[in-house]
């Protein structure tokens, strides 16, 4: 589904991503784990088009996206739920979801999809008229995910969905991610919470200072001693 080949990104003189190569197959949950500053967010932002790659390419179902602007990538089926949620605080929950469907023209089914989101996240339904900025952290994360789904993406890019949430909520969010995946959306998940991410991922990549250093199935990596030591707090 999504294929990234030898991707390089520079911020001025800093070489942020070095020859990143990874792929996500249809129906998978793939996670990219790594420490702070390793290049996880940069990878996602390059895929969604917020950052320009210096070389390499990004293919979605064989179509080259590398030079397309971000809005065109949304149209082709990439949706990113950004780090820190980035919901629109001065707009209502409902309006946020509407904006998620910005490029869609099918008014009636947008309404239907919003209702489905409210079924999946009843708390958002209760607060549909409330300003999004007044929601709690967990609710905002649900809204951000719901908003990301409104464009009917082929692949959903999730950036640190567990950030700043209480452990119980983190579990809930991860359950939701699994549900979304079972319903047919492919997922690329970036996480610092490596153990949680590995527990739901089919496959995983480990990124360190801009390079992929390890890859394997979620299970393999959670057992690897290297990973245990570096990311899971084991000895």
């Amino acid at each position: 589904m999504l294929e990234i080949n030898n991707l390089n990104v520079h911020y001025g003189v800093i070489h942020a991503l070095k020859n990143i190569t990874l792929k996500v197959d249809a129906g998978e949950i793939v996670t990219l784990i790594g420490a702070n500053g390793a290049g996880k967010t940069t990878t996602l932002r390059t895929i969604s088009g917020l950052i320009k790659a210096t070389s390499g390419n990004i293919l979605l179902e064989g179509k080259d996206l590398t030079v397309l602007p971000a809005p065109s990538r949304v149209e082709l089926g990439i949706s990113q739920v950004p780090e820190g949620r980035r919901i629109f605080p001065d707009m209502s929950v409902y309006e946020n979801l509407e904006l998620g469907a910005f490029l869609r023209k099918d008014k009636a089914s947008i309404k239907k999809d919003i209702d489905e989101i409210f079924e999946q996240f009843p708390i958002l339904g209760d607060r549909r008229k409330q300003m999004a900025g007044t929601l709690s952290g967990g609710e905002q994360q649900m809204l951000a995910i719901g908003r990301g789904l409104m464009s009917k993406p082929r692949i959903l890019l999730l950036d640190e969905p567990s950030m700043g949430l209480a452990p119980l909520l983190v579990r809930e969010i991860f359950n939701i991610i699994q549900e979304i995946n079972r319903a047919g959306t492919t997922i690329l998940l970036v996480e610092q919470n490596a153990s949680m991410a590995l527990s739901i991922a089919h496959r995983a990549y480990v990124i360190e200072t801009g390079s992929i250093v390890l890859s394997g199935t979620g299970e393999e990596l959670s057992k690897s001693s290297e990973i245990q030591k570096a990311y899971l707090g084991g000895e």
Binding site: G49, L50, P69, G84, I87, F88, M91, E98, F102, G137
Partner: protein, 292 residues
């Protein structure tokens, strides 16, 4: 008391003109964080377009208003594309200085073509006036206020009910997140300049009617005052610009009516200083807070 009410009436009509200009300032600031100092000059050009239309053709007030608004829309979009868009990733001070450059460019290009002399606006309305006790409301004031109110209602509708309006709000809060929704940021910025400039054009025609005279440098002072109005209401905030504009207009007429009209400009700028000391975010501005 009657004199007070009369000054309020005058102030509201002047203030609604300031409000129209302030709206453009505030929307453009909201979306690209630029104080568009050329905005007052777009308003000046709107006044000249209105002048040309009403003087050289037989068209009346409304056609003149619409032609001036259209002309300013085109001008505003071109200025954004040519002068500001190439600087999108430059420092804010570079864009600000460019805006001042554009301002001078418009003022003196206009002076080159139409001359520096003051021209008097044709009177478009009958001299009819309505008396309410000792308060006089004339036809011009009614047209000015009604036009301004209609445009502001239209703006509220665009911003809150249309897709483009929602895109404008999204881009003004978070450009990256807006792009992730599929919103084209450049188109949205152009649209904002288009609306802001159209409003400035309308204000230009209205001020020609209000003061009866126009000249190529007429945009400077009202431009600055509308900027003060936008800051007073809370820059970036649309209802704030409306309130700020009315507030400044009323304050100016009260100062002229009760004090000395020599002081009215000073009073406006004194207000700016006070606002910046007491509540820099303006009446309706809020402190940006972040939630993690």
């Amino acid at each position: 008391m009657d004199q007070f009410l009369q000054q309020i009436v005058n102030g509201v009509s002047l203030g609604s003109i300031y409000a129209l200009i302030a709206l453009g300032y505030t929307m453009i600031y909201g979306i690209i964080k630029l104080i568009n100092f050329a905005h007052g000059d777009i308003y000046m050009i709107g006044a000249y377009i209105g002048f040309a239309v009403t003087t050289y053709t037989n068209l009346g007030f409304f056609p003149a208003l619409i032609i001036a608004m259209t002309g300013c829309t085109v001008l505003g979009v071109i200025i954004e594309k040519v002068a500001y868009k190439p600087l999108r990733n430059s420092s804010r001070i570079a864009v600000l200085i460019t805006a001042i450059g554009v301002s001078f460019f418009l003022e003196y290009t206009m002076m080159f073509f139409v001359g520096a002399e003051v021209r008097s606006y044709p009177s478009l309305f009958t001299k009819r006036a309505f008396n309410f006790g000792d308060i006089v409301i004339n036809m011009q004031q009614i047209y000015i206020v009604l036009t301004a109110v209609a445009l502001m209602i239209l703006l509220q509708f665009i911003v809150h009910k249309t897709k483009t309006g929602k895109a404008m709000r999204a881009v003004s809060v978070d450009k990256d997140a807006a792009q992730l929704m599929g919103i084209n940021v450049n188109t949205t910025i152009s649209f904002t300049f288009a609306i802001g400039s159209a409003f400035a054009g309308a204000a230009g025609v209205l001020v020609g009617i209000y003061y009866n005279s126009i000249d190529p440098l007429m945009g400077m002072m009202p431009g600055l005052k509308a900027f003060v109005a936008a800051v007073f209401g809370g820059i970036g905030n649309i209802p704030g610009a409306m309130i700020g504009g009315l507030g400044i207009g009323i304050m100016e007429t009260l100062v002229s009516g009760y004090g000395n009209s020599m002081y009215r400009d000073a009073a406006v700028f004194a207000l700016l200083i006070i606002i910046l000391i007491v509540k820099p975010t303006g009446l309706l501005g809020k402190n940006t807070r972040e939630k993690v």
